[in-house]
């Protein structure tokens, strides 16, 4: 009876042609795990094409793979023992397909690394070993294969064990075993070999069952990247559900949670289920959904954590260790996207500390990182994101880099050069925020509106203020609670201590914008629609305001385009009589 409920993913890696696919093919054949007739079918195919039979053909299913006798892409194969169900990921060993090897290895809990005893340790034997360490795979068993070609020599086996143990130590891996095998002959694959009386350790099969399952990450701090926010109102469902997969930790109904980078806080009202018994707690690995007691603004890209646990790091510059897989080298004159958890932000390469040859572990300093190289770098993100340092919490401490449409690299976050000051201030402000006796939801119901910040901008000489006042009047007349806050009102009051009049000073300008946004934040918390005006707002200003407000702001440009303008929600002509109406419609103020 097959009642076991445990499972494990295993990857098999190593240099090209060292026998990975043969090991797995042999394992499947010797444990009667193949579909009936499969072995005969492959033998027949080899006979028809006058090719020698290969166990590897059981996995190398693609025409090109069989024609070239190599594995091109990772194959998933299903295998089970009394103890568990396995998915074995057979990786290619050719350097050209390193991205496929990483695709497979990143899913594995344990790895088998194959070295050909006849050929010895080769470039990718080492590179793959190093990558396993970067991917955080701790259980590695090394199979020294093709011992039939070296007369089952204990001496040769011992010397490989010695040399490779040394390399792995330098790469930060401690192998849990070495096994001498011959995949072609079936020695020490599924059954103990008679040809190597000098060896008494595991066979490949018994090693698999001896790998231990990674314990669930329930004891670590709670982390859930917000994947989406659902509200299926059109189907009559009024729940607002924050959806995501719990990366680590546990969460219960009633727990205080906080969303980073904004730092907004609320309490878990419910854990939602469909066709499953209602539950009051979830833990790592669950794709779940929660509702909150206060309707704060949360969006994809935020990281949910518990208020009484270790907070994540929020920063816009990060130190990383990465591998590059893109066809084009990774360099500092291009804009990329960084994806971590559910967040996606534009980024640039700021600095390469060194480039590492993952096979020789030699470090060099170069201006760019080429395909299949590993490097230590600093990345500059266009806005702050929340994450963990990989050594604290691996699952929220890693990222990928997208170049044009392709995932072209990935790695782990090793630290931060700065501390993302504004985002941190905002998080602290939200943490310390004193809630009044009336909630924002109640205010929204009373006023019949959602608070919103509308930023009206344009060239220096554009007539922003007239539009702003007309908009304020119209909204007020139609029953909305609205306030026009001119930047002048802030400049000479709230900003009196920093106003120098040097408009080109970027730091001073940032501080003005920050204070303007902080003031607007108080007004939106009071439930108001706030209209702001400022000249020639750029993308950085918009990001800054959104960081402070934790919400999207609605941007309108009056009149002609200007240099360095951001993407606007709306652009209207100067003197357009319909400007007010257009803004009200586009900003969806009456929904």
């Amino acid at each position: 009876m097959d009642t076991c409920k445990k499972d494990m993913n295993i990857v098999i890696v190593g240099h090209v042609d060292h026998g990975k696919s043969t090991v797995i093919g042999r394992l499947l054949a010797d444990t009667n795990s193949l579909p009936l007739g499969k072995l005969e079918q492959i033998k027949e195919m080899c006979r028809r094409n006058s090719k020698p039979f290969e166990y590897a053909f059981l996995l190398d299913a693609l025409k090109d793979e069989r024609a070239q006798g190599i594995t091109i892409d990772i194959a998933r194969c299903f295998f089970k023992t009394e103890k568990r169900k396995y998915i074995i990921l057979d990786a290619p060993g050719h350097i050209e397909f390193l991205k496929n090897m990483i695709t497979g290895a990143s899913r594995a809990e344990a790895a088998l690394l194959v070295i050909d005893a006849h050929e010895g340790i080769r470039e990718n034997s080492r590179r793959h070993g190093y990558i396993l360490s970067m991917l955080g795979i701790k259980q590695v068993s090394v199979l020294v294969n093709k011992l039939d070609l070296v007369n089952y020599s204990e001496e040769i086996y011992d010397s490989i064990v010695k040399d490779y143990t040394e390399f792995l130590a330098a790469a930060g891996v401690t192998p849990i075993s070495f096994i001498p095998v011959s995949a072609a002959m079936g020695d020490n694959i599924a059954k103990r070999s008679e040809n190597m009386p000098w060896y008494s350790g595991f066979t490949v099969l018994s090693q698999l069952d001896a790998f231990s399952e990674e314990p669930p990450l329930d004891d670590l701090p709670f982390r859930m990247p917000v994947q989406d926010v659902y509200k299926f109102t059109s189907s009559g469902d009024e729940r607002r559900i924050i959806a995501g997969t719990v990366e680590s930790g546990t969460l219960k109904v009633g727990d205080g949670i906080m969303f980073y980078p904004s730092g907004k806080k609320t309490t878990v009202a419910s854990i939602e289920e469909f066709n499953r018994p209602k539950r009051t707690a979830v833990s790592s690995g669950f794709s779940t959904g929660i509702t909150m007691t206060e309707q704060i603004y949360v969006k994809r890209g935020d990281l949910a954590v518990k208020t009484d646990e270790k907070p994540p790091v929020t920063a816009s510059r990060i130190d990383v260790s990465l591998f590059w897989l893109g066809r084009e080298p990774f360099c500092d004159n291009r804009r990329y996207y960084l994806k971590t958890g559910s967040a996606k932000v534009p980024m640039r390469l700021e600095k390469i500390t060194y480039v590492l040859n993952a096979s020789t572990l030699e470090k060099t300093v170069k201006p760019s990182v080429e395909k299949n190289e590993v490097a230590q770098c600093t990345l500059a993100l266009e806005r702050p994101v929340a994450f963990d340092i990989s050594s604290d919490l691996a699952s929220t401490g890693r990222f990928v880099i997208v170049d044009k449409y392709e995932i072209s690299g990935g790695g782990i976050i090793t630290g931060t050069p700065d501390d993302g000051k504004i985002a941190k201030d905002v998080a602290r402000r939200n943490f310390k925020w004193e809630h009044g006796g009336v909630s924002l939801t109640e205010r929204m119901e009373r006023f019949g509106q959602k608070p919103l910040v509308i930023m009206i901008t344009g060239r220096k000489n554009s007539d922003r203020k007239t539009v702003a006042r007309a908009l304020e009047k119209s909204l007020f007349a139609s029953g909305k609670a609205v306030y026009y806050l001119g930047i002048g009102n802030v400049l000479y009051g709230v900003d009196a201590d920093i106003k120098t009049g040097r408009s080109e000073d970027r730091d001073e300008r940032d501080e003005h914008i920050r204070r303007l946004a902080e003031t607007a934040n108080i007004l939106t918390d009071a439930g108001l629609i706030v209209i702001l005006t400022a000249s020639e707002i750029d993308e950085d200003d918009v990001y800054l305001m959104q960081t402070v407000l934790g919400e999207k702001i609605f941007t309108v440009r009056i009149g002609d385009a200007y240099d360095k303008e951001p993407a606007f929600d709306l652009a209207v002509d100067e003197n357009d009589e319909k400007a007010t109406e257009m803004i009200m419609r586009k900003a969806e103020l009456f929904h």
Binding site: D2, C4, K5, K6, D7, N32, P35, L36, G37, K38, M45, L59, A61, L62, K63, D64, I72, D73, I74, A75, R76, C77, F78, K85, I87, K99, N100, I102, T103, S106, P216, Q227, D228, Y230, F232, S235, D237, R239, I241, A243, T245, E272, F274, N275, R276, G285, F286, S287, G289, R300, L325, Y337, K339, R398, V400, V402, Y405, E406, I407, G410
Partner: protein, 293 residues
């Protein structure tokens, strides 16, 4: 968390990722057990709603019971149901049962071509009007850029090499020699205009997992999967001229699960009843490169 929980939660993560990243998303529903499990996973992921259309390619050679079952569930679960077809090939009788095409050519005509042109919106799509209770020509002809498909890696060789998010180019072709990397739950969700992405949430499931899940969750499946008393049942559902029932007396879910765990099918491949897989070696790989599921 047991094995089925792990599979379920990973699949839900993938479905949600697809929904958040693709504006024009649809799910292919072949009415078979796998895509019906996928449909149930979607209802779980989105709390009882299925927020994208379900697309069925009607070859008109499906076993009639399947279409009845499709429309019954579509109404009951308020699904946004769409079907497409290769009307021209059907009218000109360019099919295997008509004797005018090989099995592989027939699959290309009735499935691959119909699928390609239904997804791109070039051929008419028929959408279920729930109020009127019938299908009407759909006014929306925008191409789907994300297509969720219920294939499994254990079905055959080329599927064992698939990605969860797998890009298809302008001609629907699959570049199997150069697939994008995919790790740590980060998938290929950026794509060039004119191309689309196939999304495969069930890759890690085996046939046995699917049946065990059907039993655990009470997923409704067509009765063709069970022996109705003549000692035969379908193990895989396709078009009737090319799908043969297998000898089996499994009358219920327990019977099927037993047969797969340790009984007569424990070591026999599921698609062994599908004739088009055998016609020439690597036939399915070639069909799939051209856009077959």
């Amino acid at each position: 968390m047991d094995h089925l929980d792990r599979l379920e939660n990973r699949s839900i993560h993938i479905l949600r990722e697809a929904y958040s990243q693709f504006k024009n998303l649809c799910m292919l529903w072949s009415i078979g057990k796998d895509s019906t499990v996928l449909l149930c996973l979607a209802r779980k992921a989105f709390y009882g709603h299925v927020p994208f259309p379900l697309v069925h390619i009607d070859t008109h050679y499906k076993i009639p019971e399947m279409i009845g079952y499709r429309d019954r569930l579509a109404k009951e679960w308020k699904l946004d149901m769409i079907y497409g077809e290769n009307r021209e090939a059907l009218e000109k009788k360019l099919t295997f049962p008509d004797g005018n095409a090989t099995r592989i050519e027939c699959c290309k005509n009735l499935k691959t071509e119909a699928l390609k042109n239904t997804l791109s919106g070039e051929w008419p799509r028929y959408r279920l009007n729930h109020a009127a209770g019938k299908y009407e020509k759909d006014a929306n002809t925008e191409p789907y850029t994300g297509v969720i498909v219920g294939i499994r890696a254990d079905e055959e060789g080329s599927r064992s090499k698939e990605r969860y998010f797998s890009p298809r180019d302008k001609n629907n072709d699959w570049d199997i020699g150069d697939q994008p990397p995919e790790f740590w739950g980060q998938y290929k969700t950026d794509f060039a205009p004119g191309t689309h992405i196939r999304i495969h949430p069930l890759l890690d499931w085996t046939e046995l997992d699917v049946w065990e899940y059907i039993k655990r969750e009470g997923v409704p499946v067509v009765s063709l999967y069970f022996d109705q008393g003549d000692g035969k049942r379908y193990r895989s559902l396709g078009c009737w001229p090319c799908t043969n029932p297998v000898e089996s007396d499994a009358k219920d879910l327990d019977g099927i699960i037993e047969e797969l765990r340790s009984g007569k099918f424990a070591n026999i491949a599921e698609r062994s009843g599908r004739a088009q897989d055998k016609e020439d070696g690597g036939g399915l790989e070639e069909l799939r490169k051209d856009g077959y599921m």
